[in-house]
């Protein structure tokens, strides 16, 4: 898959609740290929593609979230330092010393009590979020407030790195690669041959899953016959993790899960996807464990009278850190399966 658009998506700062920057570039990218592009009340971007010939057979929804984990400014100290509240399940071990960016473009550095004054006990654990702050170089609260305000949003600093063997690294790459896959799919759809009505949902607020899923309202409004949910799947393919606890392998192909903690995926769709991959030599894998995993399907499949759902995962190392790692091989496999699913 061409990664040019993914590169632009990776540079966007769009934490849960402030997804506008991501939405704008996605909208611009897909608009020429869609029959309709609109936003629902909570900010999900919904694009429709209808068959050119005849009435649609079924209504299909494809979902990928456009938000990412990040933070919000909670308070500003008198000395100008910024205190934050996290948005989503950020890997807090990776925060200290990180460069961050606010949605208005202001840059800062996450700082904490210096390591040379830490006790043995403090050194052995990651610093608690309440003890971290963001340094902007300002001299006091008033100067900080010229740059940012309480309630402003930020994320890890974007940096896109191409590594050996088709590996890519950057913040939010797992989720954004799913967005890029849907955009690539949209570009390649042949409306002459299309039979189903397709709705592409670029959803908001996936990362704050403990509170809500933005995709749920889109599912309720669209009430599709079937839903495909794309998302990053945790990869723990390192030494020291038992084979059956490793989740997915980065580079092991598109992740097909029969179930996770919150959803049992449509058994028939799952079996068909597996058969298709086997027959067409599309590299695929099962997550070795369901522990801890969930997707937006947890809300979607129970919406209305029920929506049979299938999950496609992109294996992601260092999930929800400042540098997620994915493999282009997995993106190609996922795209091949997606093209088959759209009829």
């Amino acid at each position: 898959m061409n990664t040019e658009f993914l590169k632009s998506l990776a540079k966007v700062c769009a934490p849960s609740g402030a997804e506008k920057a991501a939405a704008s570039i996605i909208e611009k990218e897909i608009a020429p290929f869609c029959d309709e592009v609109k936003y629902d009340k909570i900010g999900n971007l919904i694009a429709k593609i209808s068959p050119k010939n005849g009435a649609p057979e079924k209504k299909m929804m494809l979902v990928s979230h456009m938000d990412e984990v990040g933070f919000m400014v909670k308070s500003i100290d008198n000395d100008g330092r910024v205190r934050i509240a996290l948005l989503g399940d950020v890997d807090t071990r990776t925060l200290s010393g990180r460069r961050v960016t606010f949605t208005n473009g202001v840059c800062g550095i996450v700082a904490a009590k210096p390591i040379h004054v830490l006790s043995e006990g403090e050194r052995s654990k990651p610093t608690a979020v309440k003890s971290l702050y963001i340094e902007l170089g300002t001299k006091d609260k008033a100067e900080t407030e010229e740059l940012i305000r309480v309630g402003d949003y930020g994320t890890f600093e974007p940096k896109f790195v191409e590594m050996k063997n088709g590996h890519l690294a950057g913040k939010a790459l797992g989720g954004r690669s799913c967005v890029a896959l849907l955009c690539e799919l949209i570009r390649t759809i042949d409306k002459e041959k299309l039979k189903d009505e397709l709705y592409f949902v670029f959803s908001v607020k996936r990362e704050i899953a403990k509170m809500q899923f933005g995709a749920e309202t889109a599912a309720f409004t669209l009430a599709p016959d079937f839903a495909v949910i794309l998302d990053a799947t945790a990869s723990a393919d390192f030494d020291g993790v038992k084979e059956y606890d490793r989740g997915a392998k980065c580079g092991g192909g598109v992740v097909l899960a029969p179930a996770d903690m919150k959803t049992i995926y449509d058994r028939r769709a799952f079996a068909e996807a597996v058969s298709f991959c086997e027959e067409n030599e599309i590299s695929f894998q099962y997550p070795a464990t369901a522990a801890g995993a969930e997707t937006e399907a947890s809300a979607i499949h129970k919406t209305g009278v029920g929506i049979p759902s299938l999950s496609l995962g992109v294996a992601t190392r260092n999930l929800r850190s400042g540098a997620e790692i994915i493999s282009q091989n997995d993106l190609d496999a996922t795209l091949a399966l997606l093209k088959h699913l759209v009829k």
Partner: protein, 332 residues
């Protein structure tokens, strides 16, 4: 009722994979209702039109899924790792026989040197006798479900034991109510829900599709009469339990009072259930869409989620009378 219960217990239906039990229930209940259909989630919905002047939409829900396991990983030697579907008691499951839908048998065993208190999701595996991964993969696929071997037998005093009595006993009660109701005043939906054990998922979409006026979930409860148990007023053999509350719902007073009234009129012994933890389909029935007047009947049960669940068929018969009464009653 024992014959039906045995038939329902033997049919497989691990959460998310309920096609086996669904087919059995559909065939059994079809003669007593007007229509049988399956919704997108897989809930089986049997509908009987009422003939009353002012019929209400009444929904009964018993979950047809059972706790069990899903295959997540097969190692090089052909040992199988599992994900749990529902609240598995690993102490009760270890060193037991499991059966797959194909009829393939295996045994579930903890990793060597694991203390009983540590038996858990990734500390047990299934041994099907395979010598290699390849051999195992010929019989078992990732995503396949298996369950502890079903069984049902009679004990003293009209009591029965086995598994999965949770909640095939509720399925029997819905079936018996459909069969024995003298007439149908109300439009009644007998719903056999899916995926209750993994988080009351099926009842939500079934209730949304039906939008009932009144709804009753029928499921197993507990029994406060076994050695060393916590104080609990409901005991085996003292009658069906009418739920007042559990950890996820406070039942509608109208529903509680209506069921009490029917019990008193039909001289059916009943008990009142107050649970501080846990829940059943009731919570979803109450909250879905615009909501409804929801309540529940609980069958007093010993050793729930084990291979030796015990219920008293006298309690069950009482529950059927209340359900039949709701089919026949003029509701406000």
């Amino acid at each position: 009722m024992f014959t039906e219960l045995k038939k329902f217990v033997m049919a497989d239906g691990v959460s998310g994979d309920e096609a086996g039990i669904s087919a059995v229930l559909a065939a059994e209940i079809a003669p007593y209702v007007d229509e049988v259909k399956t919704d997108a989630m897989g809930n089986l919905i049997a509908f009987k039109k009422g003939t009353g002047k002012n019929p209400k939409k009444v929904m009964f829900a018993a979950h047809m899924d059972e706790i069990g396991f899903m295959v997540t990983f097969i190692d090089d030697k052909g040992f199988i790792r599992l994900s749990k579907m529902g609240g598995i008691n690993y102490g009760a499951a270890a060193f037991s026989e499991v059966v797959f839908k194909s009829g393939l048998r295996g045994v579930i065993v903890p990793d060597a040197n694991t203390a009983p208190n540590d038996f858990g999701p990734n500390k047990v595996y299934v041994d099907i006798g395979a010598r290699t991964k390849k051999e195992a993969e010929k019989k078992v696929k990732i995503g396949d479900t298996c369950r502890l071997t079903p069984s049902l037998a009679k004990l003293m005093n009209g009591r029965v034991y086995g598994r999965p009595i949770d909640d095939r006993i509720g399925c029997v009660m819905l079936f018996e109510a459909a069969r024995t109701a003298k007439h149908f005043e109300n439009d009644v939906y007998f719903v056999f829900t899916v995926q209750e054990e993994v988080g009351v998922r099926g009842a939500k979409t079934a209730a949304f599709g039906i939008m009932p006026d009144y709804a009753v979930a029928v499921d197993i409860g507990g029994s406060g009469d076994v050695p060393n148990c916590a104080p609990f007023a409901v005991v085996l053999g003292n009658g069906i339990a009418i739920k007042i509350k559990d950890g996820m719902v406070i039942c509608h007073k109208t529903m509680v009072d209506t069921m009490k009234k029917i019990a008193e009129e039909t001289k059916t012994p009943y008990q009142l259930e107050i649970l501080e933890r846990g829940g059943t389909d009731t919570c979803m029935l109450q909250q879905t869409g615009a909501g409804c007047i929801a309540g529940a009947l609980s069958v007093p049960t010993r050793y729930g989620h084990s291979g030796v669940e015990i219920v008293d068929m006298g309690d069950v018969a009482g529950g059927v009378k209340i359900l039949a009464g709701l089919c026949e009653a003029e509701l406000a």
